[in-house]
Symmetry: C2
Subunit: 467 residues, 2 copies
Amino acid sequence: MTAIATTQPRAALTDDARAELTALLGDRFSISGPVRDHHGKDESYHTPCPPDGVAFARSTEEVSAIVTICAKHKLPIIPFGTGTSLEGGIAALHGGITIDLSGMDRILRVSPEDLDVTVQAGVTRKRLNEHLRDTGLFFPIDPGADASLGGMAATRASGTNAVRYGTMRENVLGLTVVLADGRIIKTGGRARKSAAGYDLTRLFVGSEGTLGIITEVTLKLYGIPEAISSAVCAFQDIRGAVNTVIQTIQVGIPVARIELLDEVQMDAVNKYSKLSYAVAPTLFFEFHGTAAGVQEQAEMAAAIAQEHGGMEFAWATRPEDRSRLWQARHDGYYAALALRPGSKGWPTDVCVPISRLADCILETKKDLAESNMLAPMVGHVGDGNFHLVYVIDPDKPEEMAEAQRLNDRMVSRALAMGGTCTGEHGIGYGKMAFLEQEAGDAFAVMGDVKRALDPHNLLNPGKVVRV
Amino acid sequence: MTAIATTQPRAALTDDARAELTALLGDRFSISGPVRDHHGKDESYHTPCPPDGVAFARSTEEVSAIVTICAKHKLPIIPFGTGTSLEGGIAALHGGITIDLSGMDRILRVSPEDLDVTVQAGVTRKRLNEHLRDTGLFFPIDPGADASLGGMAATRASGTNAVRYGTMRENVLGLTVVLADGRIIKTGGRARKSAAGYDLTRLFVGSEGTLGIITEVTLKLYGIPEAISSAVCAFQDIRGAVNTVIQTIQVGIPVARIELLDEVQMDAVNKYSKLSYAVAPTLFFEFHGTAAGVQEQAEMAAAIAQEHGGMEFAWATRPEDRSRLWQARHDGYYAALALRPGSKGWPTDVCVPISRLADCILETKKDLAESNMLAPMVGHVGDGNFHLVYVIDPDKPEEMAEAQRLNDRMVSRALAMGGTCTGEHGIGYGKMAFLEQEAGDAFAVMGDVKRALDPHNLLNPGKVVRV
């Protein structure tokens, strides 16, 4: 359905290349249809686009060997973690080989005394947190999906906790990266700060596999807070909910999570997760700190909510209640799709300066009210970041066109307000035109960097930048 | 004194180039000896190396025009803020033109509701904070010197507050940058987070003028805490002081500042700032938060200090007492130099994972004890970052050699412990060999990026990377 603009021809997987990859990997190199199909589709509306083969890597050295073979044969290389990208990031637009990193699932080092950890790229965030359970530490970044940490680094993931703990940008200390010619480098390190040279770590974080293949990630960890407290608060209208968020941030309450779900999304959540929340714009809060600190934060936030038409805070104090609450929030995407069986989701997100958040959300809701599009809204609103899911039938061109029209308007609105075309979903190939609009002349500089590091355009070609 | 290894010849300022720069800037282009000399030396031991001319710019467009002229004539271009670099960052190693940005001193926009600000590159941190005084906001990054915010971005500055508020890496939202060919780009933006394309902002932050000239900076701001409290605590030995720091960080006390001064530095501070602290290893603390939060933090930290041989906390509660305390800390460098009139300072810093901090400091102190080198130690130890100043006569080769030997050992020690060759002073040309050692094969990638953005090696040549 989605138009893929490209002039680059599709590379052919020659017999020679196939033989070399099979010699290296044995049956961990696959050209079977189902395996290729599985690796060609993400969680979004984008048309599946399978690679010509899938290489299952187990080590950095193996990734390097695979890339070296691909470079020799000029085959595109697409890294794959858990396939939860939302903008077509894993589509093999020009053919080539997908490197599946899920087998690189070892936790290489945990240093509780330094609050850091090094993992292979295929370790997922949930598995890391399970592994850490006995240390009293946790890794906070939580994009909802149980994504791989390599994929999260590559896409600069964030999620519900970012308002307090930052995104992958702030939480990756160092990387091991395989370059386009197979060289292995390490970036960053374990020092908490450094003024030593170019920040290659941050250059690879968010580059979506177009500059190198991330194979190992060193991450900051945090002590599990002494006290955690979650609450749900429904509002009379969405303006009151958003203004509560704005004021909470402006007065500096160090809220750990502050999530907005509009009335459409709350209806979906109730149905999908068998809950009985009010069908009204709602904020989900979480507070982390000492017992006294959490109480102080919660009282301040509750007072602000009350001023803006918020109802009573409904507290979830037991861990299992908190888990249920956040699981319901995380299942929001699937809940949205379940509103219309057989549909697909076109998830999209923007992020604006917090002072413009109410305007951006209200104007977007007005657009939706004037359309027949089903599109629940959720948001990591403490960062100024919110999401829509256009719930569509991608086989109906008129629905695709309407989603495109609404999306164009929302992104343009966010950019006009000083915001960004994506707070956390990334560019892939779905938002490349928006990135060009947002970055202006800096878009060409991104292309210069790409050509310098990947002169033959082999790394995830067709994504993020034009070359 | 310092050997400058280079094969690139010194560029000549031709009559044509001079005429074009004068036509553009009038008497804001200077070739006078004193002006050139002033722009050729920083605050360190590095041999002064003046440019052939100094251009005083007032706007981004003017910087672009200057760079365009320099590019045409293949003249090196060195950006200059306040000249407080410590690794020779502003030395005109290959001749060329220094662009003095101190006249770009306008605060372009303050958005209290978004907690952000955009300034021209020449605005200093103190002037920004004076300007913000009535808004209830402040900009926390504080490297000691009243540096320009453009320079602080270009060198990824940090300082005493970084343990809580992060460094320039975490606090720059966006930049305006003039590229090597005169093009003007904007990077980043005002959204708190973004997954839109390569993180060019972080690429320019810390690039020390070698990839582009930063002309405008958008920064995060913070609410002035409801309560601030500072304290000084002397220790029986340095191990106790360092272990207090380690434990304070490990248990997650959100201390705003935690600074170590060794007994040599305390003696210097007492003499220079006419104070009467104990001549013993000492921690300076600062706590930010609500009144209750600050009290809680302070009690926890005091208990940890007591366990490790700390004396009573001496509190500075009045703002003027706090200012005096931190001014004394910030004057530490000048206090060190005053221990030996006529001397120069060779300031250096490393940063290690916090668990290695005690070993790194104690081994370094042992080296110093076995040498005759006067070298006070201070540190932003909450980050694992500490500094020495070798107080030397740079005209005595044996003193330079001894400083070099001690420095080589300290940096090698930090690297062996998983640390970095500089936590915040930067590379300039003084630490290029250490960067190469630290980065390994990634050093070549930095060169690739440099060549892509500055193919004729005109931007601050001879610094950070080899080309």
